[in-house]
Amino acid sequence: MGEVLLVAAFALTALMATAVVLTRDPVRQAIVLSGYGLSLGVLFVTLQAPDVAMAQLAVGTVMVPLMVMLAVAAIRRHQRKDGP
């Protein structure tokens, strides 16, 4: 049973990682990235690494998304109006 859980957690993580890469718009990608962070947290606990899971959740839920969104906001302010 424990192995099934591991397989499920690995599969979920691989799926979400692929989804993050394939999402091209930064705003949408950031949301998927947050989801990926959650799935990594769950996987790390199933791999018996609560310390790492906690670090991943702490960084991945607020810090990195906030940085990405602030960067996107800053870039929008400066991008050329006629730009692509």
């Binding site: 049973m1 859980l5 499920a8 979920l12 705003v27």
Partner: protein
């Protein structure tokens, strides 16, 4: 207990996360907002399944911070920063 965790993982967390990978940003955000507490619940069940009360801290962090995390997007998708 592990079976219950598995059910939560496949039956609740997976759909929530799937919701984050499609649609407009707001639709995705709904999935993420739901996924936070579900992930905390999964972590809670895992702590029980492995019989380790030490793992509960992880669930605590997930529950606490995932709310703040969804606020990030709520702010940015709203009218102003």
């Amino acid at each position: 207990m592990i079976a219950a965790t598995l059910v939560m993982l496949a039956g609740a967390l997976l759909p929530c996360l799937l919701a984050t990978v499609r649609g407009k940003p707001v639709d995705r955000l709904v999935g993420l907002v739901a996924a936070g507490p579900v992930a905390a619940l999964v972590l809670l069940l895992l702590a029980a399944a492995y019989g380790r009360s030490a793992y509960l801290d992880v669930a605590l962090i997930a529950a606490l911070l995932s709310f703040a995390g969804s606020l990030v997007y709520a702010r940015f998708l709203g009218r102003t920063l």
